[in-house]
Amino acid sequence: MKRHLISAADLSRGDALLILDTAAELASLADRPIKKLPTLRGRTVVNLFFEDSTRTRISFEAAAKRLSADVINFSAKGSSVAKGESLKDTALTLEAMGADAVVIRHSASGAAHRLAGWVRGSVVNAGDGTHEHPTQALLDAFTIRRRLRATAGRGSGLDGIRVTIVGDVLHSRVARSNVLLLSILGAEVTLAAPPTLLPLAVDTWPCAVSYDLDTELPKSDVVMMLRVQQERMTAAYFPSVREYSRRYGLDAARMARLPDHAIVMHPGPMNRGVEIAAEVADSARSMIVEQVANGVTTRMAVLYLLLGGTEFPAVAS
């Protein structure tokens, strides 16, 4: 494993499988009377959130606390950032406080990468702009493996599983991280989106592209719906929400075209009625609640593997 987790592409197949296998062992912790391990006692994890988040921040906080690390939560609102402090000065402050790991969410793509050059601890990217969100991809891969490869043992990948990622790929860091990670793990990924919501260089991504969701559904083992990120949209990407929903939204009729074993995922927060219908989100095939639970275990695995062993040697820079 590398010292930081900035991009899903930082992970080799072996690294990714080690994280999933570690998460699988940690999952049993949820059924125990004492849901805490002493492993990261005395280590400090800083949650540095410049952008709003509920589940990711809570998930990282729960993960760090279950490993007995000390957690400092930092949100931009009400901090010196509101007074105009730069990312670098904030980073140096955290450095002076002795953070062993910094979990960062920022609206600028590349923020996590910049931060990694300024602090000694490990940096975990919890979402940077429209770039990447690697722990979301890891928890998605973990959820898929748990559901569709339940009998496979340690070290098994997602080989041959067909995943269709639907919707606003252009603004989605989740999509990019998932395409990278799922393909490293052997899954066959297809993006289904209107041409206006696909990034320019999508032909260089390790996946297939389709404009027609309905032809993809019958051959999908996993459908991953993306949120339409209206807050990041600076132009008109589709004529109306209603038209988008009709062509790319997952409703009960579309869900019926899926194979019987197929599962439906969504990274949250959902726009019910836009990309996913309420009856689909609440159906038995929906993994949305399970994804949240798996998020804690997967992030525990990441924090353990980054912080649980010897300190990484200082990088000369």
Binding site: D21, E25, L37, G308, T310
Partner: protein, 191 residues
């Protein structure tokens, strides 16, 4: 490794227990456990990964043969409780798998292959505390090689093996290594 999979003295190290001796040692330990726990009453065997787990299963099978009772048997991973985590890169976790009956009020026998510094057993005691409150905890090991660094002793020992700290003891078991043997060598393992 020499021909026919037999260890060769000098190159692979010296074999100190062969398959029959391991079998006899486990049979004796199984009888001792039955004696000390009054016929295996409320007994749970927990193996410490990797090689403690097959040893625990073998003991459970033996006890089952002798007394016709099914002994709950599981595994207890101690990685997250070790005191030397920061001395090495983070390592993969083993499996913790408790029998459905749990450990509360039971006599838990921890099973491991080699007892050395005692630090693994200390970690196991900590891990067990988080899982429940056994009535008593005992320790069974195939080999006790001495050099304890903590006040810990085994209740059941397959073989006491005086060693120097420079030497390395290898326990090979059929379930993991395709054959049963215990070897002792000067540093480094059998290739």
């Amino acid at each position: 490794m020499g021909a026919y999979g037999r260890p060769v003295a000098g190159r692979d190290g010296l074999a100190v227990l062969d398959a029959d001796e391991i079998r006899r040692a486990l049979t004796r330990i199984a009888h001792e456990i039955l004696e000390r726990t009054h016929g295996g009453d409320e007994l749970v065997l927990l193996g410490i990964p990797t090689r403690g787990v097959p040893l625990a299963r073998r003991l459970a099978a033996r006890i089952g043969e002798f007394e016709g009772l099914e002994v709950p048997c599981g595994s207890l991973d101690v990685t997250m409780h070790r005191d030397d985590l920061r001395l090495r890169p983070a390592r993969a976790l083993g499996r913790t798998d408790l029998p459905r009956s749990g450990v509360d009020g039971k006599t838990v026998v921890l099973v491991d292959d080699v007892l050395y510094s005692g630090r693994t057993v200390r970690a196991a005691l900590d891990a067990l505390t988080d899982l429940g409150r056994p009535r008593a905890v005992q320790l069974a090991v195939l080999v006790d090689r001495g050099h304890r660094e903590l006040p810990i002793r085994a209740d059941y020992v397959g073989k006491n093996l005086p060693t120097s700290q420079r030497e390395v003891v290898h326990v090979l078991l059929a379930e993991v290594d395709a054959r049963d043997t215990v070897m002792i060598s000067d540093e480094g393992g059998p290739s």
